[in-house]
């Protein structure tokens, strides 16, 4: 075979045509998806931002603009020259109050995170302490004489006390929970009564510090601060001093118990290392997964084995136990071979073959006939045995008809 090989001519100046799109072409092709993806991202961001203004949010948080937050009150206080500082823990509140000259503490603990000791310590932080929505433990600790009243049914809530802040406010929003003062209790002043010794505001004045309990903290939130005299009451109560510590307890106030947690024991580099390993994995995936050009397609021929029809027919025989049919095939094949071996033509009759084979092999023709024609196998074992006898007959005939090698003629 001659291998024709042309010597390459002058080096061509033209670059080969690239089928990989350039970055620009790929960008142009994927433009729709890029724009669509960016649009979807934009929609997601905008809707998230808008959702922040919903009803959810921490109640009475100083920086929360949601309806339940208290940012409106805090901003007005700041405009009035009061320095408002938010505190997340008792330690922080203590630091802030010790640094301040004449602090006021606003305390609101809807989850009841502080213990009795912590509540006592909190009440001693500043000369003026305002507690919004006190819970049972708070009342027990700070004003054991006071108790819970029901929900007020009054339609109007005038001050009817001598507290300056309450007098200036004149009224607050009616309804909501109340606190009660027993008739014989000393040192407790109740304001905004709604019958049966139930008040919306209670103040207990010790020698150097006053404690004000506001039954319904929601009066000060963004939604309700503008109702009735709520704003006046809040500003006068909270703006009494130069500084206001806005203390909402968090989980940091809950004293830890037992051994340090797993997170505290973990060195600082563990999380960044994990992040790095994720990045390395991604990079390795790109390194190993980037295909070296497109796959090459090739049409391959089907593979059909020619013996499949024979195998299929064999399985059909076996499944349907077609013993006689299978044996017939074996016998016809054997008879044709035997006819050839004893020198008969293809057209010889079965009887001629039987007689000749019987005489050649020195067997009774009845036996040969039984093997080649008459025997009907009842079981598979008989079929196998008969097939062996046919083979044996063929072998015997072959032995009898093959002349011995010349050197062994005498034996």
């Amino acid at each position: 075979m001659s291998l024709l090989k042309q010597a390459p001519s002058e080096p061509p100046a033209e670059n080969a045509v690239a089928t990989t799109p350039t970055l620009r072409a790929a960008g142009r092709r994927a433009r729709f998806w890029l724009v669509a993806g960016a649009g979807a991202l934009l929609v997601a961001v905008v809707s998230t931002v808008l959702a922040v203004g919903g009803a959810d949010g921490e109640p009475l948080a100083a920086d929360s603009a949601t309806p339940v937050g208290a940012r409106a009150l805090v901003e007005v206080l700041r405009q009035q020259g009061v320095i408002v500082t938010a505190a997340d823990s008792l330690d922080e509140a203590r630091t802030l109050t010790s640094a301040a000259g004449d602090p006021t503490v606003f305390f609101f603990d809807p989850d009841g995170l502080l213990s009795a000791d912590q509540l006592t310590a909190m009440a001693r932080l500043a000369p003026r302490t305002i507690v919004a929505s006190p819970d049972f433990l708070t009342l027990q600790t700070l004003a054991p004489a006071a108790g819970f009243g029901g929900v007020s049914q009054a339609t109007a809530s005038p001050a009817r006390c001598t507290l300056p802040a309450a007098v200036k406010a004149d009224t607050v929003s009616p309804g909501g929970p109340t606190l009660t003062i027993p008739a014989e209790a000393d040192g407790l002043t109740g304001c905004f009564p709604s019958g049966d010794n139930a008040y919306a505001l209670i103040q207990t004045a010790a020698s150097d510090r006053t404690l004000t309990l506001l039954a319904d903290g929601t009066l000060f939130n963004n939604e309700r601060i503008i109702e009735a005299g709520n704003a006046a009451l809040a500003l006068n109560l909270l703006g009494a001093g130069d500084e206001l510590i806005w203390y909402l307890p968090t989980i940091a106030d809950v004293p830890g118990t037992g051994s340090p947690s797993l997170g505290e024991l973990t060195p600082g580099w563990v999380t960044p290392t994990l992040v790095l390993l994720v990045l390395v994995t991604v990079a390795a995936a790109v390194w190993r997964g980037r295909r070296f050009g497109p796959l090459v397609a090739e049409n391959l021929p089907v593979t059909v084995r020619a013996s499949e029809t024979m195998e299929g027919r064999a399985r059909l025989y076996a499944r349907s136990n077609a013993r006689l049919r299978a044996l017939d095939a074996l016998r016809v094949g054997a008879v044709q071979r035997l006819a050839g071996q004893v020198g008969l033509s293809r057209l010889a009759t079965l009887d001629e073959v039987i007689v000749l084979v019987a005489s050649v092999t020195d067997r009774p023709s009845g036996e040969v006939r039984l093997v080649l024609v008459d025997a009907i196998p009842a079981t598979d074992a008989e079929l196998v045995a008969l097939s062996d006898r046919i083979l044996e007959l063929e072998r015997a005939t072959a032995r009898a008809t093959t002349p011995l090698p010349p050197e062994r003629m005498d034996s």
Binding site: K5, A18, F292
Partner: protein, 435 residues
């Protein structure tokens, strides 16, 4: 664009400064950010310094033909037309059955220079093997990131049938030559020609003494004969669905090619004209009017592209195909399969049309596993298998008898035996003067 293992290792090395310097989470996070940014910056720098894989000119140098089982070298010349040095890996994307093996080559190519990438191809399959594309991956000087482009560089080689049966050719040609100049042993008939007169030597048949020439020469002269030359042999291969079946892991069609190549080589040496047709419902390949070496090269060229078609062969149109090749008496060789009476029922009715005018041989591949299965009768499954094999052999025998009754000859054999058996039958027919 892609990145390398070196970049992955560089990124992973960031663990060391993070663990050493990151005492607090904030510090560790800062170190992580700085490391990732530095690695990315290095990668982008590397990418911008890499040579463009698009600025490469390609030239192929390929042999046009190769015989199946042999190896050739595929040469690809790459010229860097850019201004930067290309540090690259080249993938020459040959089809899998072209047998290119590992087709990735690492190469450094300075600007304006040309390099050769050679691949050893050992095709595993007959037919046209193609290559369309070359993919170039160009690394930056740091080996961190790489640019990649796929370039068009089409090429093809034609893989020819192996013609392994040519090993039988010398012995058959010898036997053919023995036919020349024979006197007594040859059966003289229509197909023999008077060759020459020569002196009688002892052993010659006395019946071939030419008395008139003996009288002229004063010596006893005998006539010698030689087989007739310039006969026509038409080889028609059935490329229909039965030719797709594999016998001994070789499609029937490939065995048919081997047999027809051996026959063509032999007949062409003997001075006969060989025509080749591959046919199912239309002509898939045809070689006509070629002689000698050109005949064989054109035949293998035509055969290379023929694949079995999964359709039934239209035998009714075959006599017309033969008539279109020759109107004279010819030897018509039909290479098909005669496994089952059902599959051959279309072939049998058209045979008389051919045998009326031509000598016809029907050649078929038989499955050696069938013959072997008739003797394995150890257990129940094997006995049933032997019965099915006997049934298959009886079918072949029955179809063969029917074909002989139509006046045609039958040659069967396993894939290894069929080509020499067909050649022997040709020699026998030639000796008998029946061409």
């Amino acid at each position: 664009m892609t990145l390398t293992g070196r970049f992955v290792a560089l990124l992973a090395l960031g663990v060391v400064p993070i663990v050493l310097l990151g005492r607090t989470p904030a510090m560790a996070t800062a170190v992580l950010g700085l490391w990732v940014l530095a690695a990315l910056a290095l990668g982008i720098l590397d990418l911008s310094l890499a040579g463009s894989p698009r600025r490469v000119a390609l030239t192929r140098s390929l042999p046009t033909r190769v015989r199946l089982g042999e190896s050739v070298t595929s040469d690809l010349y790459l010229t860097n037309t850019g201004t930067r040095r290309l540090n690259m890996v080249v993938r020459d994307a040959w089809q899998p059955s072209a047998g290119a093996g590992n087709n990735r080559t690492r190469l450094a190519l300075p600007p304006g220079e040309r390099r050769l990438v050679s691949l050893q191809l050992t095709p595993t399959r007959r037919g046209e093997r193609r290559v369309d594309r070359v993919t170039v991956r160009s690394f930056g000087p740091l080996g961190l990131w790489a640019r990649q482009a796929t370039l068009q560089a089409p090429g093809q080689i034609r893989v020819l049938p192996p013609f392994t049966a040519r090993k039988h050719l010398p012995s058959r040609i010898t036997r053919l030559k023995e036919l020349d100049g024979r006197t007594s042993l040859m059966v003289r008939g229509q197909g023999t020609e008077f060759d020459s007169l020569r002196e009688y030597v002892r052993g010659d048949d006395v019946r071939s003494i030419d008395w008139r020439a003996t009288a002229r020469h004063n010596d006893v002269m005998v006539r010698t004969w030689r087989p007739e030359r310039d006969r026509r042999v038409v080889v028609l291969i059935d490329s229909g669905r039965t030719s797709a079946a594999r016998v001994d892991d070789e499609p029937r069609l490939d065995t048919a090619f081997e047999a027809s190549l051996l026959l063509a080589a032999l007949a062409s040496t003997a001075g006969d004209h060989v025509d080749f047709i591959a046919y199912d419902r239309r002509v898939r390949g045809r070689v006509q009017g070629a002689q000698g070496a050109e005949l064989l090269s054109r035949m293998v060229d035509t055969m290379a592209l023929i694949e079995p078609e999964l359709i039934e062969t239209d035998w009714a149109a075959v006599p017309a195909q033969v008539r279109a090749v020759t109107s004279r008496q010819a030897l018509v060789v039909l290479i098909t399969s005669i496994d089952a009476a059902g599959a051959s029922s279309a072939l049998l009715p058209v045979l008389p049309q051919l045998t009326r005018r031509h000598t016809v041989i029907v050649a078929s591949v038989t499955d050696p596993t069938t013959l072997a299965a008739t003797h394995e009768r150890g257990n129940r499954e094997e006995v049933y298998r032997a019965a099915a094999a006997e049934r298959a052999l009886l079918d072949v025998a029955r179809v063969s008898a029917a074909i002989r009754r139509q006046g045609a000859e039958v040659v069967t054999g396993s894939p290894a035996d069929l080509p020499p058996a067909l050649a022997d039958r040709y020699i026998a027919l030639k000796a008998a003067g029946r061409l």
